[in-house]
Symmetry: C2
Subunit: 345 residues, 2 copies
DNA sequence: GTGAAAGCGCTAACAC
DNA sequence: GTGTTAGCGCTTTCAC
């Protein structure tokens, strides 16, 4: 970066004071400086267009006021709002974000190394997968590096984590279906080998049913993979069943969209012939045909909460005991569950 | 960050050499060092778990190997893939990303200042709006700060910019509609006062029509705002017209989804009663009912190209003359334009 | 082939 | 109230 060559020395020279003084007035340190001196320093800095070098500052303060945000699957639409939440509080607190994406374990480890080399003050890990080993995170913890994980299944005491209540959301959503008078509720699950959320959403569905003393029909558990096509194909399989359900809990939004299309292609009317609900509330959920009844995930909130937690840690020391925060989802009733239909008739 | 207190000195001490030597072997500098010395240094670094302090390094090299990515509207789904492209090439080249989001001019200016304070080596500006003044960018240019803009209407010589060919995309897409035998093509425009892309897409639609000597019907130019609801309402207005078009060019994907729903709600069959096409190809475009024929924007490519441009600049000096790159869109033919329908009959 | 030392721009003791 | 100075951890001349 060119031209950035105006240093604190230049300001000191121009103001006719020492660099120490300049540093003090510019940082509003407790030390008392004369009004006229302060004035001269300020105006010198102004006219020289002085811009403090944060790198040099970090050097001596041994802190960079930046945090590392490591994301896997940058392309996942869920991450934008999380990042937004993170960014909002971090910016307000004067912290910067250095971004790293990782597609697998090795690259995540690599990213952490790189970011530590860049001296980030802490980390936020934002991920979806549950298959990752967490050894490198435990190592971080052991070394006292501040970090918080979002949506990461890491069952180890003392890890600060933010989770979204997939289980509760699925349970309530299923309950909502039952409230509409359904009792034949099928599910399209996520990849339960890979994602903790898929396990929890399945578990929530089951619990929602059993809460009302309904035993799920094994045929009505269709395996999916969280993709559009997965949802499409799952419904195709479902429709081949002789005994069809009257309601369908789809484990995520992408599959729900695929399911809707599959249903439409097969001439099955939603919600008339079958009700559909899902977890995750993308902007377009209100504009599918029919619009989707969903449980909105607290994505932006997760971002804000994690950032807040980390910043507090950085300022006041680690939370004791470690936080384990479960964020609730919000029911968005639209057309696909048939609630409106029912109320009309 | 704790524990990070193993410095180059420690390595030097342990290896029984000078810090200069350590630096040389660790950076693979041209200087010759004895094989045994090198060996000792390497193993010392290894056993001490030495991690070079990038901040200190930046201090003396006067370069941080980071670039500032400034985005407005973090929530815009278009930006994820762009960021992905940027990240991919930057990581490969050893550069880091520091992220800044800005919602308006003042916050963008603020972000630039902050990032310059953090000594980023260059900038990528990713934005949508055309209403911003560009004075601060011109100032950057004047000061020799490397930067490239994506999708930003800044008509000033010497600015390196990446644009997506909205005009060409709209023109070709309209042509595609005409190829299907339509001649009554309406459009729902974007906010032409705010977005350059809206102007260009409108212009492309017009040009596509005139290329075939068709004069557009003024009634068939419906003003929209790039939102789902905007698309929904626009179609409502369109349907009140006595003389309806047989095809509809919607300026962006969100409005197209809104339009589809509006049409469905009104019982108008797509593509049978009216064909629909749009610009922008979100993942769900293939799973709407009917699936959307679109022009896919080269978003990830824009990210990659901009990053490559910037990195080359950082390494070899500014491109002469400045690059002005126009990226083409890709036609994705699906159901909503009626092409398949036509071929079947 | 290797070591010593001068900074990079800044903050924070410590003097006065 | 203000100035001086010793580093923060590293790279890179310049000696040897």
């Amino acid at each position: 970066m060119k031209n950035s060559t105006v240093t604190i020395r230049d300001v000191a020279l121009k103001a006719g004071v020492s660099v120490g003084t300049v540093s003090h007035v510019l940082n509003g340190s407790p030390r008392h400086v004369g009004a006229s001196t302060r004035e001269r320093v300020l105006s010198a800095a102004q006219t020289l267009q002085y811009r403090p070098n944060a790198i040099a500052r970090s050097m001596v303060k041994r802190a960079t006021a930046t945090i590392g945000l490591v994301i896997n699957e940058l392309s996942n639409p869920l991450f934008m709002p999380v990042t937004e939440g993170v960014e909002a509080v971090l910016r307000k607190e004067g912290y910067g974000i250095v971004l790293a994406s990782s597609n697998d374990m090795p690259s995540e480890i690599q990213a952490v190394e790189t970011l530590r080399g860049r001296q980030v003050d802490g980390f936020i890990f934002m991920s979806l997968s549950t298959i990752y080993s967490v050894d490198h995170l435990l190592k971080l913890k052991e070394q006292g590096v501040p970090f918080v994980v979002i949506n990461r299944s890491i069952d180890h005491p003392g890890i600060n984590r933010i989770l979204m209540d997939d289980y509760g959301a699925a349970c309530r959503l299923t309950g909502h279906l039952l409230d509409q008078g359904h009792s034949n509720v099928a599910t399209i699950t996520g990849p339960r080998q890979l994602r903790r959320s898929a396990v929890n959403r399945y578990g929530g569905w089951l619990a929602g049913l059993r809460e009302r003393h309904i035993e799920p029909c094994p045929d009505w558990i269709i395996g999916g993979d969280y993709t559009f096509e997965g949802g499409y194909q799952a419904v195709k399989r479902l429709l081949q069943l002789s005994h069809r359900p009257t309601a369908l809990f789809v484990a995520n939004e992408s599959m729900a969209v695929g399911a809707l299309k599959s249903l439409a292609d097969a001439g099955v009317k939603v919600p008339h012939d079958i009700a559909v609900v899902t977890i995750g509330d993308p902007p377009f959920a209100a504009y599918t045909s029919p619009s989707l009844t969903t449980m909105a995930l607290p994505v932006e909130e997760a971002g804000r909460v994690s950032a807040r937690l980390l910043v507090d840690w950085l300022k006041d020391g680690p939370p004791e005991p470690a936080k384990d925060i479960l964020l609730a989802c919000t029911l968005k009733v639209r057309e696909s569950c048939g609630a409106y239909l029912k109320n009309q008739t």
